[in-house]
């Protein structure tokens, strides 16, 4: 009996010594694809495990809005774009940027050459497609800058809420559609269109780019020291994952495909996405995940310059913090390029 009790006490003691992994849930902005390679790689290569984190990665999709998920308590950290995050902040959702993963914008407007469009001025009177659900803010800001009303008519542009496919351009239902440099543009090429048949306007070239994929968490979680520590560990391991993914792209694609439960993604398409995405995380002179305040201010200015319909009406306060990043990296940032 005494030996039994002793054995039980030892077992309990030993289990207490082993460090239990902290759970953390990440909500992606879109479906499983190489756009989120860093996180899947960090999970597969054990980077999260090494910092004692048990991370659940939830894929997004057409009707999944990261701000709603975090507002409803469905995730601890989400990937979101700065414009919709700031708009959600104004609506009362207290999310804060803890890291800016993509330094450059991948958003572009792709037009058919046979629609006669050569410069943005030619958009007048044409039909343009844009996604909504948070992706329309950069487009609306750009139309405001060009002084085009989005209500149609010969002096404005007719806007279509495009689905998450490239059919409106293929079927000539729109002169231009919104595409990402890393995804939908290549869907057009894969569908048989030639680059010579397309005219592309990159938001970054037009001076209307806004900050895209970043990591966001709720204000009260960041203020909680235990949670802030978890987020810092998560950030460190995730950026390690990104560095690995950028240096070992073929392996990253395989990891992403292994995590794709839909079976809809192909290796060729994901390889293309991975190589394009790798260009959006750089240049990162201060390290991966560092938010460049000048870029943040440009995004804010663009969103506020909406004339009669600005995306946000007042300058955001406390919308970003470098505290988590500093806790994660301090003097040792991971620089990719």
């Amino acid at each position: 009996m005494r030996r039994l009790l002793l054995a039980a006490a030892l077992a309990l003691g030993l289990s207490g010594v082993a460090h239990a992994a902290d759970p953390l849930t990440l909500q992606l902005k879109w479906v499983t694809q190489a756009q989120f390679a860093g996180y899947y790689v960090a999970q597969a290569k054990g980077f999260y495990k090494a910092v004692h984190l048990d991370v659940t990665i939830k894929p997004g999709g057409p009707d999944i809005n990261p701000e709603q998920v975090i507002a409803g308590g469905g995730a601890d950290v989400v990937i979101d774009w700065m414009p919709s995050a700031l708009a959600a902040r104004e609506k009362g959702v207290p999310i804060v940027n803890i890291a800016q993963v993509f330094q450059r914008s991948g958003m572009e407007l792709t037009c058919r050459r046979d629609s006669g469009i050569k410069t943005p001025v030619d958009f007048k009177g044409k039909t343009l497609g844009v996604w909504f659900s948070g992706n329309e803010y950069p487009f609306l800001a750009w139309m405001n800058k060009l002084h085009f009303s989005t209500n149609g008519g010969p002096n404005g542009v007719t806007v279509l809420k495009q689905g998450f496919n490239v059919d409106p351009l293929l079927q000539q239902q729109a002169a231009c559609i919104s595409t990402m440099t890393y995804n939908e543009y290549w869907q057009l090429i894969e569908a048989g269109m030639k680059p010579s048949q397309l005219v592309v306007f990159k938001y970054s070239d037009e001076g209307v780019a806004t900050l895209e994929d970043g990591l966001y968490a709720k204000q009260d979680e960041i203020s909680n020291p235990a949670m802030a520590d978890k987020l810092a560990r998560f950030l460190k391991a995730s950026m390690e994952g990104w560095k690995y993914a950028m240096d070992h792209q073929a392996e990253a694609v395989k990891i992403v495909l292994a995590n794709d439960t839909t079976g809809a993604q192909t290796e060729a398409h994901q390889t293309r996405i991975m190589s394009e995405i790798a260009e959006l995380l750089v240049p990162d002179p201060n390290g991966l995940g560092y938010l460049d305040v000048a870029a943040y201010n440009r995004t804010v200015e663009e969103l506020m310059a909406g004339g009669s319909a600005p995306v946000i009406t007042k300058k955001p306060e406390g919308a970003w913090t470098r505290a988590i990043w500093e806790q994660a990296f301090g003097k040792h940032p991971i620089v990719a390029k």
């Binding site: 809005n65 507002a71 609506k91 689905g163 059919d167």
Partner: protein, 277 residues
């Protein structure tokens, strides 16, 4: 704590009033009961949302919804025009009309009946979320594709109901027509179609609901930037739940009004039916 007390007291008072009202049989009593019930629900909703500090993005209180309706009337009007006037009504008329014509055609031909009914059942069983993107590809982004979805949804209910109505003429009345030497066409026009009218109205009322649902859901899959479905999906994504609920209230109102109008029309046209005596 205070909120809970207020809620319980309101519920108690409300139930007592309703029970007393329900006992009375006069016309004012009958009108007052649903009104009081509706007001009670709104009151409970308002108190609970405000008292328990329910986040706006989860459930806005009725006062905020009222404000949203009042401040967005131009948008609501444009959406009403796009969805109800340009998508629902044409789709409902075409779908019900072709369903009725198909029922008459099937009535005269057992061959067609055996062939078309299973096909009609297949078309109506297709999920809207599957048909809508295909219709957008066939008919474009504007109201035509939404009306097409509504036609696909309303065709079969009308076909089945009108077919049942045409089939249920009793033997006695058929014999009477035969004794008048009435041919197939005369019997159809003077006896069988009029006596199928209650079934036709049944289908029209059912189709009115289906048409509204179909048009709103079809707008989730590609639309110009007006319409009730468009507004609901994009404003929900923007966390502007006040406008979403405003659209829901409008849709519910339209559904109820169309049902009431159709019931009134039914009463006028089929006044002879035993259910109105």
């Amino acid at each position: 704590m205070n909120t809970t007390i207020l809620l319980l007291l309101s519920l108690l008072t409300g139930c007592v009033v309703l029970v007393l009202l329900a006992r009375g049989d006069s016309r004012p009593c009958r009108i007052a009961t649903p009104i009081v019930f509706g007001l009670l629900v709104l009151w409970i909703w308002q108190v609970a949302c405000v008292g328990y500090h329910v986040p706006f993005v989860l459930l806005p209180p009725p006062s905020d919804i009222g404000v949203a309706i009042a401040t967005h009337i131009p948008i609501l009007a444009v959406d009403f025009r796009q969805t109800v006037l340009r998508s629902v009504i044409p789709g409902w008329l075409i779908g019900s009309g072709t369903g009725l014509l198909a029922a008459i055609a099937l009535d005269g031909s057992p061959f067609l009946r055996r062939g078309v009914l299973p096909l009609g059942s297949l078309v109506s069983a297709m999920p809207i979320v599957g048909i809508a993107p295909i219709m957008v590809m066939w008919f474009g982004f504007d109201w035509q594709s939404k009306a097409a979805v509504v036609v696909a949804m309303t065709f079969f209910p009308m076909l089945v109901n009108a077919g049942a109505g045409l089939a249920q003429t009793s033997a006695m009345e058929a014999d009477l027509m035969r004794s008048y030497a009435a041919g197939y066409r005369t019997t159809l026009l003077k006896l069988r179609l009029p006596s199928a009218l209650p079934f036709v109205f049944n289908a029209l009322k059912l189709n009115a609901t289906l048409a509204l649902i179909g048009a709103i859901v079809a707008e989730f899959f590609g639309t110009p930037i007006v319409g009730m479905g468009f507004r609901i999906s994009t404003e929900a994504a923007r966390l502007d739940l006040g406008v979403v609920w405003a659209e829901i209230v409008i849709a519910a109102g339209i559904g109820t009004m169309s049902f009431a109008l159709l019931s009134l029309l039914e009463r006028l046209v089929t006044f002879w039916h035993p259910s109105y005596h």
